[in-house]
Every structure is written in C-alpha cells, then in structure tokens.
C-alpha cells in the first residue's frame, strides 16, 4: 500500500514543519523528492537527513519567474514530476480595516497564484504520462473563515475552488487534484506558545490536542498514492474534529 517507488515528487515549502514532514513521508514511501523553499540552508539539512533521491531547489514563490524556473528545474532534475505538493504558504494577518494592499497581494501570490503556475507548468508532463497527483495544502480557515485573515482565508478557499476545476479538467487523464486542510498543527511556530495559550486553543478541539505534521503528511501520502486514483476534487480535513465539514 502507498508505494511511491519510481515516482517523482515536488514539495514546496519543505523547510516548514509540515512541508519537511511531507517530504520525509513521500521519500520514505520510495519517491524521488525535489524540495523547495526560501531557506537553502534548511533544505540542505533536510537533504543530508534523507540521503539519496533528494534534490534541493531554492525558489521564491512571490516571484513569477522564480516559480516558472522552479517547475523547470524540478522536471529537469528528476526527468519529470508525477506528484506536486503545493505546501508553501505565508500569512500576513491584519484586520480588514487595516490590511495593506501588499499584505493582500503577497499572500494571494505565494499561496494561490504560485500553486496555479506550478500546476500549469507541470500538467503537460502528467497528461502525457497519463498519471499525476496534485495535493494542495489549504487550511480549515479557508472553509470556516477567521478574523484577521481575510487574505489568507481567501487564498486557501481559492485553492479549494481551483482544485475542483482542475480535477474536472484532468480526471480523464489519470491526474487527480485534491486538497488537505490542516487544523491546528504543532510546528516550530506553535512551540513558542505558552501552556495557557495552547490550552485555550485545544479546548475547542474535540480530540483535545494539536495535530502533528505527520498527521498531515499521512493524508498527503494517501492522496499521492496509486490507491487514491478514484479520489479527486476533494478536501480532506485533518483537524481533530475542530470543524466537521
């Protein structure tokens, strides 16, 4: 089950807690993995940890030319891309009344537009091979909304709509496009919270705890696997019961 030997995967945002876990999980399942991010040093560390079948490609997803180059470099390095995981994302939280234009633009650019550009650049190869998996990492707040995150929620909801449209376009070619929507996941970002703060967050989660990056990576592994061939256009919520949608 879930064997990815011979498959080539590109994971964006691989320096983050969730992205690194996704890269490790796909790699452990046998995939050749291209890891991308803005911090080259962190990427090299991850590569050293994983060993062979790993390619490091630094990229700046807020720059269109850099996104296009990333798609090309990943395909060149591995001889194609079968699995694309659009995991990279940023937040620029602010109340709508105070939100600056560039806070809106940069979040939409990195979270939503770069995902589309990568898919567009890589779908040709997937169409030809009649096999492809696209997994977009969205968020529970893309469905529920969250104050102070109009830009982030819009970008994540946009990913879900985009994924459905692409799923319909590409299903006949053996390509599936799905989303994984994490809830609260413990990462270096949440490690700095106090116990009281964590308690306040987890009190609203039926499972009573934060998720782990591996919980998200496992969902990605399933959707990327040959076994998930009949699942497309879906959003898999991984949130401990925080929102049941």
């Amino acid at each position: 089950m879930f064997n990815l030997e011979g498959k080539k995967a590109l994971v964006t945002g691989a320096t983050g807690g969730i992205g690194a876990s996704i890269a490790k999980t796909l790699h452990a399942a046998g995939a050749e993995v291209a890891i991308s991010g803005t911090r080259a040093e962190k990427l090299e560390e991850l590569k050293a940890e994983l060993g062979d079948r790993v390619h490091v490609i630094a990229a700046n997803l807020s720059d269109r030319a850099s996104v296009d180059q990333l798609a090309k470099d990943a395909a060149d390095a591995m001889g194609g891309v079968d699995i694309l995981v659009n995991n990279a994302g940023i937040t620029k939280d602010n109340l709508a009344m105070r939100m600056k234009e560039d806070e809106w633009d940069s979040v939409m650019q990195v979270n939503l537009e770069s995902s589309f550009r990568l898919i567009k650049a890589l779908m040709r190869g997937m169409m030809k091979s009649r096999w492809g998996r696209v997994v977009n990492i969205t968020s529970v707040v893309g469905v529920t909304g969250n104050p102070g995150q109009a830009n982030y929620c819009a970008s994540k909801a946009g990913m879900i709509g985009m994924s459905k449209a692409l799923a319909a376009e590409l299903a006949s070619r053996g390509i599936t496009v799905n989303c994984v929507a994490p809830g609260f996941i413990g990462t270096p970002m949440t490690d700095v919270l106090s116990d009281d703060q964590k308690a306040a967050i987890t009190s609203g989660i039926p499972s009573g705890d934060l998720g782990e990056p591996e919980d998200i990576a496992s969902a990605v592994l399933y959707l990327a696997s040959p076994e998930a061939k009949y699942v497309t256009g879906q959003t898999l919520h991984v949130n401990g019961g925080l929102a049941m949608i």
């Binding site: 040709r124 169409m127 376009e169 590409l170 006949s172």
Partner: protein, 77 residues
C-alpha cells in the same frame, strides 16, 4: 500527399484512436473525430513536439480541422 500532412494524420490517428480513413482534410477534431477540448490541447502539444515549433494560444484556437493543422504547420515550420 505532403510529408507534413502524413505526419499530422498519423498523430491524429494515434491520439484520438480513430480510423485512418476518417481523418480527411476537412474533418473537424471535435465534430467529426470525437475529440474533447482537452484532446485538442494535447493534439497541439503533439504537433509542437513532432515539428519542433511553437503554436501560440490564439493560433491553436483556430486549428479545428485536419487541414487547419496542416496549413499552420506548413506555413510555420
């Protein structure tokens, strides 16, 4: 028949899985040969590769019949 026309028809036969005798010059990919819109995109991709040319989107939209393809490729390769 020209070499280009031969190659174009061969690609159409392979991609759409239709009988060779149905691939006439005037045959429309969508109306006569059962292609969907994604098939037409793939055909253009295949033409680009076979003939080493780039077919811009606005030109690709106008390629609706076998003859359209042959004419465009003949004029641009």
């Amino acid at each position: 028949m020209s070499e280009i026309a031969d190659k174009v028809k061969k690609i159409v036969v392979e991609h759409l899985g239709v009988d060779e005798d149905k691939v006439t010059d005037t045959a429309s990919f969508i109306d006569d040969l059962g292609a969907d819109s994604l098939d037409t995109v793939e055909l253009v991709m295949a033409f680009e590769e076979e003939f080493g040319i780039e077919i811009p989107d606005d030109a690709a939209e106008k390629i609706q019949t076998v003859k359209d393809a042959i004419d465009f490729i003949s004029a641009n390769s």
